[in-house]
Symmetry: C2
Subunit: 202 residues, 2 copies
DNA sequence: CACAAGAAAGTAATCTATTACTATCTATCC
DNA sequence: GGATAGATAGTAATAGATTACTTTCTTGTG
């Protein structure tokens, strides 16, 4: 007879909503996630969500903000702690792999947002997040060139694209195997090829 | 007053349905494509589709069959015409890029199918298609090793994963730019890095 | 004229969002 | 320190739209 769950402050409910959505995105196509499913995961009724968010898209916006803060912060921290651009690049890669392992639904969500027709706010937010992330990677690649750790003729744009592709390839592989842990176990071998590709000798 | 379009044989309507779905997938999230949208694109009413297909999933199955036939045939043809495993790999890459440029919705569709929960037929078909494609690539990589065109210590599984990731990275980049033609123009630079990664000297 | 293909309208299910009401928390006042 | 008022956060029900799919009516064609 648990008619009413404990009241929580709005902030915490909003955070819990984001987490529920991120969790659900790991289990199914993000664009198929309903507000009913989100509420059920939180132990609430569907209508209660709309007391904290004006629309479903507003929930999506909150999720993308959440991802942007967490991912970029971890990426920056990983890059700062490294002694060279290449070491930073590897640390950033590990950060990506760990983040995607913890939240496999996130790349699917961002990727899915990019495909939406028209100009929605969550779509623009996903675009800027992915762009900012790409700029950080390209920055490391250019720093690696100026320090002669990378081939002088390396195209940083292409290398940044392949960096993202490296992660995406691992995601596809884990989806095929139906086993998220493969992302971590396969990451080393794939990144080794990438590293050689951009011109580092181990 | 074009109330009734010309009658077509069932086969051609089925083929046109597949093409309409592939076209629509290039413009929006494939899982958001409705039967109404497909019919509208064909100049038909929504109900008319169910005269040729028993369900929406049956349409999806037809689309994946279509992709499997066309893509794998083109991949095999590209590989056959090459004089060495590495040349074949590059031809196969070009084939992928051309195919994805012509039908940008296809990878999104296959990728999306993998995310569906449960065990549906279209999902299994997408899995086998991607697996078969991956096996062809891995086969070329192994042939390259035995012919000493590739590093002896290359991990073919990892290299095949990165091959797929190379294409995926280009797809993401084109989505970000909102410009499909970028796939083709950016492909060369990215593949050059991949080639150096798997151990070929140019 | 008979038939197959499509139009048109309908159905049941599902989804987002809203509404009217109810429970819980918090702070104030005597 | 309880009682209590006001604000906050919840439920249940439902409206309005949309979806996949069905059924029935209509028409062009062989």
């Amino acid at each position: 007879m648990n008619g009413h769950p404990k009241h929580l402050p709005a902030d915490e409910r909003r955070a819990a909503t984001v987490e529920a959505m991120v969790d659900l995105a790991a289990e199914q196509n993000p664009s198929d996630i309903t507000t009913t499913a989100i509420a059920q995961r939180m132990g609430l009724t569907q209508g209660a969500l709309f007391r904290h968010f004006p629309s479903k898209d507003a929930i999506l916006e909150a999720v993308i903000s959440w991802v942007a803060e967490r991912l970029l912060a971890r990426v920056d921290k990983a890059a700062e702690g490294a002694t060279s651009p290449i070491a930073a690049l590897e640390a950033v890669f590990v950060t990506h792999i760990e983040f995607v392992s913890e939240h496999p639904g996130v790349p699917r969500m961002l990727f899915g947002e990019l495909q939406r027709p028209g100009e929605t706010l969550p779509k623009r937010m996903a675009q800027t997040l992915i762009r900012h992330n790409g700029e950080r990677i390209r920055g490391l690649l250019e720093a690696g060139k100026t320090r002669n750790e990378l081939h002088a003729d390396l195209d940083p744009d292409a290398a940044a694209t392949l960096f993202i592709g490296t992660v995406q390839g691992l995601v596809v592989r884990s989806l095929l195997a139906g086993d998220v842990t493969r992302i971590r176990s396969d990451a080393g071998g794939v990144f080794a090829i990438y590293l050689r590709g951009i011109g580092t000798v181990q």
